[in-house]
C-alpha cells in the first residue's frame, strides 16, 4: 500500500483511540489516569514505521501512541484501559504501563527517566546476541533532567550499542517549562559531547520523521554508534487527564493554536488530497473504518470480563 496512506491510517488510529477515551471517560469505567498522546502522533508513528516487528521500543507513562504505533492493536489497548482480563496485562498495568513484548513494545514506566537505562540493557543484550535488532527508547524533556539519562547515554556510547534515544520534546514537565529546569542552552549541544549521532527536528510531518528515522537506523547500524533524536511536538492536553488546561495560564494558548494549524493528522490528510493520492470519498471510507475499529475495540472491552482474584496473585514471582 501507498506509504502516505499507511502513515495516515497509523496517525488516525492513534487520534481515534484518544478521542474515544475522551468520549467515554465520563462513564467512569476506564479507571486509570490518562496521559494523553494528542499532538505527538507524527513523532511516534513516524519513528515506529521505520522499525520492524522485531525491533524494540520502550516508553513512558505517556505511551498510548507508542503502543498503538508498534502493535496496531486497539483491542488489547482498550481492554487494558477498561481493566479487563483481555487487556495487555489482564488489567494490572492500566494506561501507564502498556507493553507487548511479542510485538516489540517492551516496557513503559511511570517513573520519569526510568526506562532509559532499561533500554540500554535491552540494546546491550541484542548486541551480545548479534540479532540485529534496533532498540528505541522514548522519553520526554523532563527525563533529561535526571542523572540516569546521562549515565545511560554514556554507557551506550562507550559500548557502541544499537540504540536510538528519542527525546519527545514538548518543552514542559507537567507545568514547568524547560527554561525553569535546564541550566544549559541546548540539549543537542550537551549530547554532542558524547560519541553518538545527534539529530534535531521540529516537524509535524510524519513522512519527514519516517525518512529521518530510516537514515538514523542505517547510520547506527553501519557505524555501530547510538543515536539521539530530539523531536519536538506540542502536548495538546493537560499533563494527565482528558481536558485542555489553558485557563490555568502556565502556557500560552496562542502557541497551541500555531501547532494546531499544522496538526499531524491534518498535515497528512492534506498531503493525500493535494497530491491526489486518494479521493475524498475513499478517504472518508478509510476514516470510517478506523473509527469503526476503535468503536469495536471499545465495545469488546466493555463486554470483556474483569480479572479474577487468582489473577491478582499471578506473576509476582516465577
Amino acid at each position: 500500500m501507498n506509504l502516505s496512506i499507511t502513515l495516515y491510517k497509523k496517525l488516525l488510529l492513534i487520534r481515534a483511540a484518544e478521542e474515544a477515551i475522551i468520549n467515554y471517560y465520563h462513564e467512569d469505567e476506564m479507571k486509570s489516569p490518562m496521559h494523553m498522546s494528542m499532538g505527538e502522533e507524527a513523532v511516534v508513528a513516524g519513528v515506529c514505521h521505520a522499525l520492524s516487528i522485531e525491533d524494540q521500543v520502550l516508553g513512558t507513562y505517556r505511551s498510548h501512541a507508542l503502543y498503538i504505533s508498534k502493535t496496531q492493536d486497539t483491542d488489547t489497548f482498550f481492554a487494558e484501559m477498561y481493566g479487563k482480563s483481555t487487556g495487555t496485562a489482564n488489567g494490572k498495568s492500566g494506561s501507564m504501563h502498556l507493553s507487548d513484548p511479542d510485538k516489540g513494545m517492551m516496557v513503559s514506566s511511570a517513573i520519569v527517566s526510568s526506562s532509559i537505562s532499561t533500554a540500554v540493557g535491552v540494546a546491550l543484550a541484542n548486541k551480545m546476541k548479534k540479532n540485529n535488532r534496533m532498540t528505541v527508547v522514548f522519553f520526554g524533556d523532563g527525563a533529561i533532567d535526571a542523572g540516569v539519562f546521562w549515565e545511560s547515554l554514556n554507557f551506550a556510547c562507550l559500548e557502541r550499542l544499537p540504540i536510538i534515544f528519542v527525546l519527545e520534546d514538548n518543552g514542559i514537565a507537567v507545568h514547568t517549562s524547560d527554561k525553569k529546569r535546564q541550566g544549559y542552552d541546548s540539549i543537542s549541544k550537551v549530547v554532542a559531547q558524547y560519541n553518538c549521532h545527534n539529530y534535531e527536528e521540529s516537524t509535524t510531518d510524519v513522512e519527514s520523521i519516517y525518512q529521518l528515522t530510516q537514515a538514523v537506523i542505517d547510520k547506527v547500524r553501519t557505524t555501530s554508534q547510538p543515536a539521539f533524536m530530539k523531536l519536538s511536538y506540542y502536548r495538546y492536553l493537560e499533563h494527565v487527564g482528558i481536558n485542555e488546561d489553558f485557563h490555568d495560564n502556565y502556557r500560552c494558548e496562542k502557541e497551541y493554536e500555531d501547532w494546531r494549524v499544522k496538526d499531524p493528522i491534518k498535515v497528512q490528510r492534506s498531503r493525500l488530497l493535494e497530491n491526489s493520492i486518494v479521493k475524498e470519498s475513499e478517504l472518508i471510507e478509510i476514516e470510517s473504518n478506523i473509527y469503526q475499529q476503535v468503536e469495536q475495540s471499545v465495545s469488546k472491552a466493555k463486554q470483556a470480563p474483569f480479572s479474577s482474584i487468582q489473577t491478582l496473585y499471578q506473576d509476582v514471582f516465577k
Binding site: F149, N154, L158, R181, Q182, G183, Y184, Q193
Partner: protein
C-alpha cells in the same frame, strides 16, 4: 611572604601529608588502624595548592580520599590519627574512620564514601550560603569517576540554572579504582561541563602546588566577585592502590613507568634536600599524634548510642 617562603611553606605541608600517609602504611600491619585507608600519596599538591587559597570560613567538600585535604585545610593531626585508631578523641569520636573525617572548625566538611554524593551537598551549601549572606566560598573536590554519576549532571545543571557560586574541582587521576578513564567516559570532562554553561579552567601541571595556589586563588576571588559556578580540572596521580597501604602494579592495569613521569615532577620525590631539612620536625609532629592516638581511650557502649538523632 615571598615566593621562596611560600614554596617552603607549601612544600612542608605536602611533606607532612606524605609522611603521615607513609606512617599509616608503616603502622597498618599493627592492625591498630581498623579502617580502610584511601591514601593521598601522589596527590598532595592538589590539596596543598587549593587549601592555601582558602580560609576557615570557606567550606571544602571532598571524598573518602581526603587525608590530604583534611590536613591541608588545617584539620588537627592528632584528632585525625585518633580517628583512624578508632578512639574517642578522634575528630569524629571514632565513628567515622578514614573515609568520614570532619573538621568543621576549619571548614573541612565531613566526607562521604559514596562517589559523587557530596556534589549536590556542596551545591546546596553554596545556595544556602548565598541566601544567608555568608562570606565563605564553597568548594567541592571530586575524582574523574564522579563525573560518570548521574547526580554530577543533576548538580551541574542545577548550579548553572540558578547561578550558584560553587567551585567544582575535578582531581583527575585517570582511574576509578582500576578502570581507565577512556573505558568509562564517552565525553571530555571540561568540554562537557562547558556546555552546561559552566565556566571551565584547567591546570596543566598538577604537581606544581605554587601555581595551583595562584591559579586557584584568582579563580576564587573571581567567584566571590561575580558569583557563578566554575569547574577546574587538575591532573594528578595516585601512587598507591585504590584502597590500602600497598602498591598494585602486579594487578597489571597500569605500570610503574606510568608513574615515573609523575614522580619526575613531584617535588617531594625530587627535592631531597628540602625533604631532609623539613623532615624531622614533621616526623616529630607525627610521633606526637600517634602517641595521642594510642593514649586516647576506646569509645564505650554508651558512646555507641550518641548522636543517632
Amino acid at each position: 611572604m615571598n615566593d621562596k617562603q611560600l614554596y617552603k611553606k607549601m612544600f612542608k605541608q605536602a611533606l607532612k601529608i606524605r609522611l603521615v600517609e607513609e606512617d599509616i602504611i608503616a603502622r597498618y600491619q599493627t592492625d591498630k588502624i581498623q579502617s580502610p585507608v584511601h591514601l593521598s600519596i601522589g596527590q598532595e599538591a592538589v590539596a596543598v595548592g587549593i587549601c592555601e587559597s582558602l580560609s576557615d570560613e570557606d567550606l571544602l567538600f571532598s571524598t573518602y580520599r581526603s587525608h590530604a585535604f583534611y590536613l591541608a585545610k588545617g584539620g588537627d593531626l592528632n584528632k585525625m590519627m585518633a580517628e583512624l585508631y578508632g578512639r574517642i578523641d578522634g575528630c569524629c569520636k571514632g565513628k567515622g574512620g578514614s573515609m568520614h573525617l570532619a573538621a568543621p572548625e576549619v571548614g573541612f566538611v565531613g566526607t562521604s564514601a559514596i562517589v559523587a554524593s557530596s556534589l549536590p551537598n556542596a551545591v546546596g551549601a553554596a545556595m544556602a550560603g548565598q541566601m544567608l549572606g555568608k562570606k565563605g566560598l564553597v568548594v567541592v573536590v571530586f575524582g574523574d569517576g564522579a563525573t560518570e554519576e548521574g547526580v554530577y549532571h543533576e548538580s551541574l545543571n542545577y548550579a548553572s540554572l540558578h547561578k550558584i557560586p560553587v567551585v567544582f574541582v575535578c582531581e583527575n587521576n585517570e582511574y576509578a579504582v582500576h578502570s581507565k578513564i577512556a573505558d568509562r567516559q564517552s565525553y571530555s570532562i571540561l568540554e562537557h561541563a562547558n556546555v552546561y554553561g559552566i565556566e571551565t579552567h584547567q591546570i596543566i601541571d598538577g604537581a606544581d602546588f605554587v601555581n595551583i595556589h595562584h591559579t586557584f586563588s584568582e579563580l576564587c576571588a573571581s567567584v566571590k566577585n561575580d558569583p557563578r559556578p566554575v569547574l577546574i580540572e587538575i591532573p594528578t596521580c595516585r601512587y598507591k592502590e585504590h584502597v590500602g597501604p600497598g602498591e598494585d602494579f602486579s594487578g597489571g592495569y597500569r605500570t610503574e613507568e606510568e608513574l615515573a613521569q609523575w614522580k619526575a615532577k613531584d617535588a617531594l620525590e625530587v627535592n631531597s634536600e628540602l625533604v631532609a631539612e623539613c623532615k624531622d620536625e614533621v616526623l616529630a609532629e607525627i610521633a606526637v599524634s600517634v602517641e595521642f592516638a594510642e593514649n586516647s581511650p576506646f569509645p564505650q557502649e554508651k558512646d555507641l548510642y550518641d548522636h543517632v538523632i
